[in-house]
């Protein structure tokens, strides 16, 4: 079934590239936009829904957030301005986090004591990122987005993961904040006690992550997980769950900035949210029958392609 999905995705991407190439270069001009786009208006939300549905499947299978796929792919191949794409991207990531959050907190996988200090720093930073992202020239944002996506591909390829990182001694800050926990590891039946270290360094890193999340509307799971897991020593499952939950707070503040700045169009946002959510539900069902490694490489290829597209678009090479 996933082979069929890949075929559909490939066809859609080709269709989008053709339409995108045929589309006007100076998309700021109303007249040109009206003149050159030959598609009926409702086709775009329909294609958007179909593409986000597929992205939702791939996001689950590839173990990435919806936002990180959404922004570069929709931003690169649809006629929507990056301002609206980023606003929608944040809301897509936010909706996914809100949907997953309650279950993760109830099971004790996402940890509130760990999340709250990080969320405060990341959400304040994401406001700065959103303000910067909406104020900087679009070619700079496109170029930086392309560079960031390529960086994410590199992180996903290189970064190792540690199921249970060794933390010999909790640092003084995490001890003072009483950030520690226990979770049930279903695969082994054991209860895992965990504590963290390098808390201050981790919190400082989340300033950068917050800024990038707000600036590019990407969500930030790609950065949250390595920092929580490798830097701070949080077990992998708790890192993934806490990262997902964190997005519900970090993306909220950035989403408000885009919302209040007018960068939210319901015709882009709603089909995207529903498409990604339905795709995620289907993705979870497919997950049991697929080889995650193969899917992971497909996701990486998609990101690589979308990152290059954003980079070249920003540099004015492939407009």
């Amino acid at each position: 079934m996933w082979k069929k999905t890949i075929h559909i995705l490939a066809i859609l991407l080709i269709v989008m590239i053709i339409f995108d190439t045929a589309y006007c270069n100076d998309k700021e001009m109303v007249e040109e936009a009206t003149k050159v786009s030959s598609l009926v208006w409702w086709m775009w939300p329909l294609i958007l829904f179909a593409v986000t549905f597929i992205l939702g499947i791939f996001a689950v299978l590839g173990g990435v957030g919806g936002g990180v796929l959404f922004v570069p792919i929709v931003g690169g191949f649809f006629p929507f301005h990056l301002d609206f794409v980023r606003g929608a991207g944040l809301l897509v990531a936010l909706s996914g986090a809100l949907a997953a959050g309650p279950g993760l907190i109830r099971k004790g996988l996402a940890d509130l004591r760990l999340s709250l200090p990080i969320a405060l720093i990341a959400s304040a930073s994401s406001i700065v990122g959103a303000m910067l992202g909406l104020a900087l020239p679009i070619n700079i944002i496109q170029t930086a987005l392309g560079g960031t996506i390529l960086g994410i591909v590199a992180i996903m390829l290189i970064a190792k993961k540690s199921e249970y990182p060794e933390v010999k001694q909790a640092d003084s800050l995490s001890t003072a904040l009483r950030i520690t926990g226990v979770y049930h590891e279903a695969s082994t039946g054991h209860e895992i006690n965990w504590k963290i270290h390098r808390t201050a360094q981790g919190l400082i890193t989340f300033i950068v992550i917050g800024i990038m999340a707000g600036m590019f509307g990407l969500g930030a799971g790609w950065a949250n997980v390595p920092v929580l897991n490798l830097m701070m020593g949080v077990p992998l499952k708790v890192s993934v769950a806490t990262s997902k939950f964190l997005l519900s707070i970090t993306d909220t503040s950035a989403a408000w900035i885009y919302f209040n700045s007018g960068a939210v169009l319901p015709m882009i946002v709603v089909p995207s949210i529903i498409g990604i959510m339905l795709g995620s539900i289907v993705g979870v069902r497919i997950l049991a029958k697929t080889k995650p490694v193969a899917i992971r490489y497909i996701v990486l290829t998609m990101l690589l392609f979308a990152g290059l597209r954003a980079l070249l678009k920003g540099l004015g090479i492939w407009t």
């Binding site: 900035i257 209040n260 319901p266």
Partner: protein
């Protein structure tokens, strides 16, 4: 069993509100979008004109459409495109309510550091939501 690990009181309280808020927000979003598409209420921007606007930067979009950013949409909520903003604002506001809910629990436990963190987070989120900060310079 997973049930042996008990989430803390504040985690459960937070999760309850988040769960309900997300479901209500999503329902509002879907209902208002159906109203938008069905034409029951007139939109501010004619649907067939949308391609003129979605390829503009937000700065130009606001300039061409005469839409005021921030909370000005509340006065235009009878227009079906702005009606969708209720669901979006609801989803973006759920987290603030969750934080309000856990403060008394943390306070009861005399966890002053986390009460402070929660209060600061509410201030940050409300500041972002206030509409004081707007951008769109390019």
């Amino acid at each position: 069993m997973a049930g042996r690990i008990k989430a803390t009181e504040e985690q459960l309280a937070y999760a309850r509100i988040l769960d309900k808020g997300m479901k209500i927000g999503l329902l509002i979003l879907i209902i208002t979008f159906v109203i938008y598409l069905s034409g029951i209420l007139p939109p501010y921007l004619i649907l067939s004109d949308l391609p003129k606007y979605w390829s503009m930067s937000v700065h130009k979009y606001l300039e061409y459409t005469g839409i005021n950013p921030g909370w000005a949409w509340v006065d235009m909520v009878y227009k079906s495109d702005f009606l969708n903003f209720i669901g979006i604002a609801f989803l973006a506001g759920v987290t603030i309510v969750c934080y309000f809910r856990i403060i008394p629990i943390l306070f009861k436990r005399k966890d002053i550091v986390y009460v402070t963190i929660a209060v600061l987070e509410i201030l940050v989120l409300m500041f972002a939501a206030s509409g004081i900060l707007k951008a769109g310079g390019h």
